[in-house]
């Protein structure tokens, strides 16, 4: 392993060092402020390292991992999301008086797994990243030990997720049988010569398994329950870091192995996309609980993302669709994270977990203007209203869809978006209702939390108003 490889992997190394030092610190002396410092410190160092050692060209760090613009970009996104999650969780855990060390450690481990996924160019690293992340997330979902809801959610997620991982492994094995290779690029070459039922079955199984993890219809059943049961900051983590990392790896595989050449797969994906967009949005319409609502709407958002994959399969010119999916992932991360952070901050101040029905949000505009602004922006961005990042992302998706002439998909997208406006607006309206209750005094790291909020507001706004710098960065990233 030469110096360049080592340098290019330094962000991941910093994160693993962070995990180890957190373990040692916990063994010597439990101090939650120090644990917070170590975990934030290692993430910030990882962030700084990924920005300062951005490689000029792609570096093959072992056959398993590749460090290129794409991996770096998403390392930054994932690490930033993890930082936000840790700060938001800190406020929540202080108000609930929970043990914090193990929690921070689990978040670091899960983020590490996600970063590995962003670098994966081989089925082995794909699976490793997936499992490192998955195992930590199961524990995070069930972390609060005082009531049954998180445990139920954790168990549900654990069982379904491991079942889907088993299917995934089976798919990998079948592909290996058919082609004899495991690297994404090599697979692309090998698939050109092999065209058998085995390959079809294998890709189908892999997509079914990933469909579970990304909660695509018809594999979406667990989503609202797990979203509702998990502690709010972790729901945000699950919805962003975990799903985004999986989609990032999926996209690299799909692109690297040139899977779009399989017409049946493209067709199957477009049905999945249509079903996810429609079912997700219509399910969300019926939810009164904000976490369930966001869960259902995330099904729809994954459907929008699939549109870009289908475009990849339909067009020969792939730039626009790739840019569209990268953009969508980033806008979705910012908005979803903002929504869950705001909700968590609100819950920490106004009573315990579980209070996230619409009527629990009444009066937020008057009691906590900052939180309400973050929430409103997040929902508007998810709805795709102009001046937010979500609009540019949706613009990209629609543009790529139009270019490929996918009218049925676009019809479902427009219908779904129109429906989604209704339920997002209902929440925004609830925020504006005037009530007389007094706010509860703030506990915990108020300043850090405010920095997170300002960062999220800036991200949503700046990406929405002046997207050009990021557009240039994203162009040709994969």
């Amino acid at each position: 392993m030469d110096a360049l490889t080592l340098q290019s992997l330094s962000p991941s190394i910093a994160m693993s060092l962070g995990i180890i030092s957190l373990m040692i610190q916990t063994a010597i002396r439990r101090n939650s402020a120090m644990a917070l410092g170590i975990s934030l410190g290692s993430l910030v160092i990882a962030l700084w390292l990924s920005l300062s050692t951005w490689p000029a060209t792609a570096v093959q760090a072992t056959p398993l991992l590749v460090v290129d613009d794409y991996a770096r970009l998403f390392t930054v996104v994932l690490v930033l999301a993890a930082i936000a999650t840790i700060i938001v969780s800190r406020v929540w855990m202080l108000s609930e008086q929970l043990e914090q060390h193990e929690f921070f450690m689990l978040v670091l481990v899960a983020t590490f797994g996600a970063v590995v996924l962003a670098h994966a160019q081989h089925f082995a690293s794909f699976l490793l990243g997936l499992e490192i992340m998955g195992v930590a997330v199961y524990a995070l979902v069930a972390y609060p030990d005082r009531n049954w809801l998180p445990i139920e959610a954790g168990l549900k997620y654990l069982v379904l997720s491991s079942a889907s991982t088993a299917i995934l492994l089976f798919g990998f094995a079948l592909l290996y049988t058919a082609t004899g290779v495991l690297g994404f690029k090599e697979l692309g070459v090998a698939l050109k010569n092999v065209d058998s039922l085995l390959v079809g079955t294998a890709t189908l199984m892999i997509f079914v398994a990933l469909g579970f993890k990304l909660s695509l219809v018809p594999f979406h059943m667990w989503t609202p329950d797990v979203y509702e049961g998990s502690p709010t900051p972790i729901t945000g983590f699950l919805a962003t870091v975990s799903k985004v990392a999986i989609f990032v790896a999926l996209l690299r595989w799909y692109h690297g192995a040139q899977l779009w050449q399989q017409e049946t797969l493209t067709e199957a994906l477009s049905w999945l996309a249509i079903a996810s967009m429609l079912v997700g949005n219509f399910l969300a319409l019926r939810q009164d609980n904000l976490k369930r609502l966001l869960g259902c709407s995330s099904i729809a958002h994954m459907g929008y993302l699939l549109v870009a994959l289908v475009v990849l399969g339909t067009l020969n010119e792939t730039d626009l669709a790739l840019e569209a999916s990268v953009w969508y992932l980033m806008a979705y991360t910012a908005a979803t994270l903002a929504a869950f952070s705001a909700l968590s901050a609100w819950q920490s101040r106004h009573g315990s977990e579980g209070n996230c029905h619409r009527e629990d949000l009444h009066g937020m505009f008057w009691k906590e203007p900052l939180i309400a602004v973050v929430m409103t922006l997040a929902l508007l961005s998810l709805a795709g209203v102009p001046l937010t990042a979500g609009f540019i992302a949706k613009f990209y998706i629609i543009a790529s869809g139009v270019e490929a002439g996918l009218w049925p998909l676009l019809a479902a997208l427009v219908l779904g978006s129109a429906v989604s406006i209704f339920y997002y607006l209902r929440v925004i309206y609830a925020l504006s209702i005037n009530t007389d209750q007094k706010a509860i005094p703030v506990t915990g790291e108020r300043h850090l939390l405010n920095i997170v909020f300002l960062g999220l507001i800036l991200a949503i706004f700046v990406l929405g108003i002046y997207p050009e710098p990021l557009i240039e960065l994203v162009a040709g990233v994969l």
Binding site: I398, V402, E403, V414, S417, A418, F422, S432
Partner: protein, 490 residues
């Protein structure tokens, strides 16, 4: 021009912050902002009108690079039509601020901020000459308007605000789809992305694609106008909105639909527009008559005025698809005249609601005796909206009907019926609210203050000027309509 929009946005933000100083401060600040903007617009138009239009026919033009990846530019341009409508927007903005002076007690700063932001979006819509930018402003108008209705509206505000947002947003998505289809086609033809209006005029869409894109635009504009049968958001939104909201909605926001039809619908897709013109004329005439009949059936002051808007906006649709210069001039004058008269009527309705705490016509009657100033003003504007010769609305409707007579005499005859039905509901409104016996409990109502009178007199003067001597306004929009006639090939 970009400074104009920036000033409105900034003024809104300042008004929001100034809430902490005193509850009256935000209204004062936003009034000051609007006055400054009107001064700036005056200055701009004087300079532009003396130096004459540029080669492309714009009085003022500015372009900045924005998102080169898609060839999106920040292009603002103004011709006579835009100038007239921007002026109307700012004028009605002042009226709206005055109408909200005493009405709004909860969060006045945030209210004024939303008001100014809505105006900024509307001014942007009238000036944007890049379709991406146009769409952006089109949507930006919505969010603050939604908040105006949802937070400060009347009893049934939640469904009204939601309905308003969903109707406009869903049709807006179709327009976005249309815009993107046109842009992708343009990129295929020329090899470069562009959303600029002037570029699209050079390379018109052909065939079936043009038809689909035209319908995407058309639906968005018809919903906003609104035309029958996509009008159902309007009565609710107008009735539930606070006075200032209704003034802006009826006075300006509806006009963006009409403006869009003329500027983009007709100019970019002349063939498709002409192909569908008979259908759209029928839609227009149904709107005129349906609005009038429904207005007569209303028992709520604001709802009645709202339905009358549907009727009057039908005339605009008729004027546009009469497909000649007369009709188009009529449509533009109608935009201004309807804006002025309806804004005034909503202001009066708001004043009544503030004093009587009801909008039901049954609870009114004889109010002239209690409030002679308000009564006189109401009479003036009701008669104006009937279309009394000598006032702006008459000129507008006359031009529309004259234009329509040349292209579709039968439809013209049917539309003329709208004038009669219009007189029936309008006079009925006046009679119910202001004539008849005055009830005991309404004896000591407060009449309009000088501030209200100034605002209404401004509107009255505008209508009178437009009615007695419409030539300056017609001259102002003439070059724009000439260009349009060339683009439409007729």
């Amino acid at each position: 021009m970009s400074l104009l929009i920036a000033a409105l946005l900034l003024g809104g933000a300042l008004a929001w912050l100034s809430e902490r100083v005193s509850p009256e401060m935000p209204a004062r600040l936003s009034l000051a902002t609007l006055l400054v903007c009107i001064g700036a617009l005056w200055q701009l138009s004087q300079v532009a009108l003396t130096s004459g239009p540029d080669a492309a026919g714009w009085l003022a033009y500015e372009a900045h690079s924005w998102i080169p990846r898609f060839g999106i530019q920040f292009v603002l341009a103004m011709d006579g039509m835009s100038l007239l409508l921007v002026g109307l927007t700012l004028l009605l903005g002042i009226v709206a601020v005055i109408a909200s002076w005493t009405e709004i007690s909860v969060r006045p700063g945030f209210f004024q901020a939303n008001l100014l932001w809505t105006l900024a979006g509307t001014v942007g819509v009238f000036l944007a000459m890049d379709l991406f930018l146009f769409f952006l402003f089109w949507e930006v108008m919505l969010v603050p308007m939604y908040l105006l209705i949802a937070i400060w509206g009347h009893e049934a505000r939640a469904p009204a605000a939601t309905k308003f947002f969903i109707f406009t947003q869903a049709s807006g998505l179709l327009m976005l789809l249309g815009i993107l289809t046109a842009a992708v086609t343009y990129a295929d033809q020329t090899g470069e992305w562009s959303f600029a209006y002037m570029d699209w005029l050079q390379t018109p869409l052909q065939g079936a694609a043009a038809n689909y894109v035209f319908w995407g635009f058309l639906l968005a504009f018809l919903v906003k106008l609104p035309a029958f049968p996509v009008h159902s958001w309007l009565p609710d939104a107008h009735t539930q909105a606070p006075t200032a909201g209704s003034v802006i909605l009826a006075g300006v926001l509806l006009k963006t639909g009409a403006y869009g039809l003329l500027r983009f619908g007709v100019a970019l897709f002349p063939d498709s527009a002409q192909e569908w013109s008979t259908t759209l004329l029928l839609v227009g005439v149904v709107g005129v008559l349906y609005g009038a009949v429904m207005a007569y059936g209303q028992r709520d002051f604001k709802r009645l005025v709202a339905y009358s808007s549907i009727s009057h906006m039908g005339f605009i649709l008729l004027g546009i698809f009469a497909w000649n210069r007369l009709g188009w001039s009529g449509a533009v004058i109608q935009m201004v005249a309807h804006g002025l008269s309806t804004a005034a009527l909503f202001m009066i309705a708001g004043a009544l609601q503030e004093r009587l705490h009801t909008r039901a016509l049954a609870d009114m009657g004889g109010l002239w005796h209690a409030m002679p100033r308000m009564g006189a003003m109401a009479m003036f504007f009701i008669i104006a909206s009937v279309g009394l010769p000598g006032l702006g609305n008459f000129i507008a409707e006359f031009l529309v009907l004259a234009g329509l007579w040349q292209s579709a005499p039968l439809i013209c005859a049917a539309a003329a019926l709208g004038l009669i039905t219009g007189a029936i509901y309008a006079l009925w409104l006046l009679q119910q609210a202001f004539h008849g016996p005055l009830s005991e409990r309404h004896m000591s109502l407060k009449d309009f203050t000088p501030r209200d009178m100034i605002a209404l007199s401004l509107l009255a003067a505008g209508l009178l000027g437009l009615g007695v001597y419409p030539q300056p306004a017609l001259d102002l929009v003439a070059p724009a309509l000439d260009t349009l006639a060339i683009q439409a090939g007729g």
